[in-house]
């Protein structure tokens, strides 16, 4: 017992020493010294910080130096002064600091996982750094970090908004493992966090935006659903398509140029209800990362951006259930641990719209049902699931799935019975689309410095339509029957395998590399049968393509304030006898000008082997993904971006500029329209160029009860095709000169918070007829022919909209619930969805604007236990 007491006191004494050491080095000082020798500077620091330096004059270089510090910690000031001269410092005892020549010392690696204390979810993007020398890293997408430091006493701090920072003072004399749990700070809840490093954001990347599950809850919602892709539309450099759609046009690119990944698997159509909602259920999303420039070499396959969505692994503390009901859909989510050792966790979530059920209820009461047997409806559904097992801290596997779809249908059933005959008629028409994703992931920490990840996945995107007709007529002597069926379906299947390695080669060099392959299968099925003429037609066309890529990238910390990321992605695409080999260099650099100011620059070359042929410009689902062929080559893009960011207290200001060129992008030729088939598609499209450039500004307040941001983008976006617009350059349909967004969230107290957003963008471009003439006899509308001007010759009226939402939370012992009310388009701005020539009641030609969404109030109720 005495021994235990003695050991305890010893430990306490040691920890006190460590704490007092950290207190001394953490003292904040300010100084502005010009042209003085190092001993003179040290003397001045001694007087300001109340410490004593001990050193041999022989190791101190001659010369005069400057030192500026404004309320900075002593250790930061000493690193600034001594590191350039290869001098190191350590606290001897009391307030004595010894300065020595830097010698080769042993280095050890500290590694582990960072978890959310409440749910046990691994946290992505947590900054981990040593307070004494500011060496740092961040947790990767598996929540894993690895930091190599000199053998010494260290103070490791873990920091990520909105969690309370955690620090550990340790004597590092061996490789060690440190798993950390972080607790959410209810007073720090920014809607978006930029990747920030040690307090002064050394790692800040304006091109990269992160959105965690907690932050998503604070975004404005529509029909009780918070949508992650709609939230991203409020950020600079990102504009939306038409009202209500989730298509993102990022830095001049089209919606098909975004690589949307769900747990590393590409999603080809991320929309429900014709783009009204995204397929991402906010209950299962852990983290969303948007890269709009300076893209990592790891990503390839799309021109403009990466939207990397990670799902939760499941709560490893207890089983939790969330049930929510809104105006459009209901959701159920269950997650928790399996087994006693809690090494296995799961999450399951399902969501379904129910306005078709409402319609049925209404129809049942409809007394005219027997007269009007037509039934129309629409529904969407999706289900996510994941099971995660940790064999050890070093080896974990996960299997996940996503299944979702949309279905629009018209059904008609009619029976006529009279004494002479019985007639039965059935008619059904469907339009449907959906994604299926199955993924397996194996994360292995080979050594504290090397970890690897294996991904094997399969995805399937299909869309199609069906039409079935049955007719029968019978009487005592004759029976007539007829049926007609037509089915069209287009499917793209992807079998994907990849392996990624991440290695901390040196404390200043982090290397990532990987290889992968995607086997694409494009299938088109057409089936038709007609009983009367006894004809059945089946067409099944399949083409296969192989896409392979390998990449390597290096994250180099040249000095404490310079960080470079350089990489190369090599891709190969094979379709039949055609093959393309393309190389995509990537580069980005961060330079810390001062404690609160960073410069950033990036270059990326990207390519896209798959082309999207879309039926309309409204983002409807009648889309065909098609491979590059010998005639239609891969799309390519180059982008240069750069910017500066500045932090002041709770505020962050970003200014970015970009210049992007695109080559080989496709567009329907003039006169060519979607005619429901991919036959001969290469002759209907033309390839051309695009150019986009602009400036982005973001001012964000990210602490306190009131948080939010203002974003503004000034940009230009043009297209040029030899076969369109007479070969002349024309503005892209979403060439929005000004794009402004304002978002604010206020916490009134622990139980009530409210958010408000306002967007303003220059109207989209549109091609409208300028003149008319008449063909045939008479002046009726049937004889009117339109004469069009140049492509996209008109702009819609400016788009603006205000959304508002308020959450009322109630915490009980065993559960908590959130009641939300809100409104979309609060002041009922009728933003045009499209404009078309029409005739008024007097028969005069006019222009008519169709708007989708007036003011739309919404409510949602959610309970979690």
């Amino acid at each position: 017992m005495r021994r235990i007491l003695f050991l305890g006191l010893l430990l306490l004494a040691y920890s006190n020493i460590v704490v007092s050491q950290s207190d001394i080095l953490g003292r904040k000082i300010s100084c502005k010294i010009k042209q003085k020798s190092i001993p003179e500077i040290l003397k001045e620091i001694e007087s300001k910080a109340g410490v004593s330096f001990n050193y041999n004059l022989k190791i101190i270089p001659d010369g005069k130096y400057n030192l500026n510090a404004k309320n900075e910690e002593l250790n930061v000031v000493l690193v600034k002064l001594l590191t350039p001269h290869k001098l190191v410092f350590s606290l001897l005892y009391g307030n004595y600091i010894v300065i020595n020549k830097s010698e080769k010392t042993d280095k050890f690696t500290i590694s582990g996982y960072v978890f959310d204390e409440t749910s046990g979810e691994k946290l992505i993007g947590v900054t981990v750094y040593n307070v004494y020398d500011l060496k740092n890293t961040t947790t990767n997408q598996d929540g894993y970090y690895s930091l190599t430091l000199n053998s010494d006493s260290v103070k490791i701090r873990f920091s990520q908004y909105p969690f309370v920072s955690k620090s550990f003072s340790l004597l590092l004399n061996n490789n060690m493992k440190l798993n950390v749990e972080m607790k959410e700070n209810p007073l720090i809840l920014p809607a978006f966090r930029v990747t920030s490093g040690p307090e002064n954001q050394i790692n800040h990347k304006p091109d990269e935006i992160n959105l965690s599950s907690r932050n998503m809850k604070r975004l404005p919602f529509l029909f009780g659903e918070t949508d992650v892709l709609k939230g991203l539309q409020l950020l600079p450099g990102i504009s939306s398509g038409n009202d209500g759609t989730i298509g993102l046009n990022i830095r001049g690119g089209g919606p098909d140029q975004n690589l949307i990944l769900l747990d590393d698997v590409p999603i080809y159509n991320p929309s429900h209800i014709y783009g009204f909602f995204s397929v991402f259920n906010s209950d299962v999303i852990k983290d969303v990362k948007l890269l709009k420039g300076g893209m990592s070499a790891r990503y390839s396959g799309r021109l403009s951006s990466v939207i990397d969505v990670r799902t939760k692994d499941g709560n490893n503390k207890k089983i939790t259930t969330q049930i929510s009901a809104g105006l459009l859909s209901s959701k159920l989510t269950i997650d928790g641990p399996l087994g006693k050792n809690k090494k296995t966790t799961f999450i399951l979530s399902g969501r379904r719209s129910f306005f078709d059920l409402f319609y049925d209820l209404y129809s049942d009461k409809n007394i005219f049902k027997s007269i009007n047997p037509l039934r129309t409806g629409y529904y969407f559904y999706d289900a996510n699931g994941k099971i995660n097992h940790a064999f050890s801290d070093k080896h974990q596997i996960a299997f996940g799935f996503y299944v979702g779809g949309d279905n629009v249908f018209i059904r008609n059933s009619f029976t006529l019975k009279d004494p002479e005959k019985v007639i039965k008629e059935k008619d059904a028409q469907n339009v449907f689309w959906g994604n299926r994703v199955y993924s397996f992931r194996d994360h292995h920490v080979w050594t504290p410095k090397i970890s690897g990840r294996l991904n094997i996945s399969y995805s399937n995107y299909n869309f199609g339509n069906k039409s079935n007709y049955e007719y029968s007529e019978s009487n005592d002597s004759v029976q007539l029957e007829n049926s007609y069926n037509y089915e069209f379906e287009s499917i793209i299947r992807n079998s994907i395998a990849s392996y990624h390695l991440e290695a901390k080669v040196f404390d200043w060099l982090n290397v990532k590399s990987g290889v992968g392959g995607i086997y694409h299968q494009f299938e088109r099925r057409i089936f038709s049968s007609d009983k009367i003429i006894n004809q059945t037609k089946t067409e099944n066309r399949i083409s296969n393509a192989m896409e392979m890529n390998a990449y390597g990238e290096m994250l180099i910390k040249i000095r404490r304030n310079v960080e470079i990321n350089a990489g190369l992605n090599a891709s190969r695409f094979n379709l039949a006898t055609n093959s393309y080999n393309l190389y995509q260099p990537r580069f980005s650099a961060n330079y810390k000008l001062s404690k609160s100011m960073n410069l950033h620059a990036g270059y990326q070359k990207t390519n896209q082997f798959l082309h999207l042929l879309t039926s309309t410009n409204s983002g409807m689902p009648l889309d065909l993904w098609l491979p590059s062929t010998d005639k239609i080559k891969p799309e390519q893009s180059k982008m240069l971006s750069g910017g500066i960011n500045f932090a002041k207290g709770d505020y962050i200001f970003n200014l970015e500029a970009f210049n992007k060129t695109m080559d080989g992008i496709i567009e329907y030729k003039d006169q060519a329209n979607y005619i429901g088939s991919d036959v001969d598609w290469e002759n209907k499209v033309t390839t051309g160029k695009g150019i986009a450039y602009g400036y982005e500004f973001l001012a964000e307040k990210r602490n306190g009860n009131t948080q939010g941001w203002i974003s503004y983008t000034l940009s230009w976006n043009y297209r040029k095709f030899n076969d369109i617009n007479g070969g002349k350059m024309y503005p892209y349909k979403y060439d929005r000169r000004h794009n402004f967004a304002f978002f604010v969230n206020h916490n009134f107290n622990r139980k009530i918070d409210a958010s408000l957003s306002w967007v303003f963008t220059t109207g989209a471009n549109y091609t409208l007829p300028e003149q008319v003439y008449y063909i045939g006899s008479g002046l009726s509308p049937q004889n009117v022919i339109y004469v069009y001007g140049e492509r996209n010759n008109f702009k819609f009226p400016n788009y603006h909209r205000l959304d508002f939402g308020i959450n009322f939370k109630k915490y009980h012992k065993r559960y908590y619930r959130i009641f939300s009310i809100g409104a979309y388009n609060v002041y009922n701005r009728l933003n045009p969805f499209y404009i078309t020539p029409a005739y008024n009641q007097s028969g005069d030609r006019i222009f008519e604007a169709v708007s989708l969404f007036p003011v739309l109030p919404s409510i949602n109720y959610k309970i979690q236990f």
């Binding site: 049955e470 007609d530 060519a672 063909i775 022919i785 069009y788 009226p797």
Partner: protein, 281 residues
């Protein structure tokens, strides 16, 4: 779900008006050409007629055949000249102090015969009226054809009777009539070519639904128009059908009419049409 429509003012620039030429010439009538001008889309007045118009019809070998007479309201017609099948005509049009040229070759004459008509059940449709037509393609070069069906009927409402004539939708599962994707743009003017029956006789089956059986209507005459078209006529009508098909689709690409006159709109196109009449008591 929530959409609403409203009139919106769009600032359309006033572009210079262009010449519009509209004419279908056929061997059974005198040549007639209509001239007009394009106008701003928001201008709801009748189209304006170009100034100082002169239309000369020429033959490549013999020179000027006729100068068309101004009949007023932009219509110019010949008093004696009917075009001949298979012959090429050159039109020189002078309007608004500019000169335009049109070169049009008339289609070959048409040989076709209605073999049968019957009422059948077609795709569950009662009283489907079906025609069986033999169409003889006469030369090795590409020929173009069109089908139209006009219904004349009486509509009764109480003691009132209204006489109505209208083009009706033609339905068919015949491969020769439906293989061309462009046919989807109009079933009231079904256009097809001799791609699969060149220099042979095609047996075509097609018909229309809803011509009979309604208690308040009585069809008393059907007119089947079978036309042979020149290539420019086929292109013009195909693009016209497509233009009208997409005209009210706000998401489609602009579709332009394929005329045969440069720097002006419209066309002078040749056709040869045979009309079959079917009377009903």
């Amino acid at each position: 779900m929530f959409a609403c429509k409203r009139e919106i003012i769009v600032d359309i620039p006033n572009r210079e008006a262009s010449l519009v030429v509209d004419s279908e010439i056929s061997p059974d009538s005198f040549i007639k050409v209509k001239l007009s001008r394009t106008q701003n889309i928001t201008d709801n007045n009748p189209p304006k007629i170009p100034f100082n118009c002169l239309i000369e019809v020429m033959d490549k070998d013999t020179g000027i055949l006729d100068v068309l007479t101004d009949m007023g309201k932009g219509v110019f017609a010949s008093n004696f000249l009917k075009p001949s099948a298979g012959k090429t005509y050159l039109f020189r049009i002078t309007a608004d102090s500019r000169t335009y040229w049109v070169n049009e070759r008339m289609p070959d004459s048409l040989k076709c015969k209605v073999m049968d008509t019957s009422r059948i059940i077609f795709q569950g449709k009662q009283n489907f009226y079906q025609f069986t037509l033999d169409l003889e393609d006469q030369s090795n070069r590409g020929n173009y054809y069109g089908l139209r069906l006009k219904r004349h009927y009486k509509q009764f409402a109480g003691t009132d009777t209204t006489i109505i004539s209208e083009w009706v939708t033609i339905e068919s599962l015949d491969f020769l009539l439906t293989e061309n994707p462009a046919t989807r743009f109009s079933n009231r003017h079904l256009l097809f070519n001799d791609k699969y029956f060149g220099n042979m006789t095609a047996n075509l089956k097609f018909g229309a639904n809803g011509l009979f059986g309604k208690s308040n209507e009585r069809t008393y005459l059907l007119e089947l128009y079978v036309s042979s078209y020149s290539e420019s006529a086929y292109n013009f009508y195909t693009s016209l059908n497509e233009h009208l098909f997409y005209q009210n689709d706000p998401f489609s690409q602009p579709t332009l009419l394929k005329g045969n006159i440069s720097e002006a709109f419209g066309a002078i196109v040749g056709s040869y049409t045979q009309v079959f009449k079917f009377e009903f008591n």
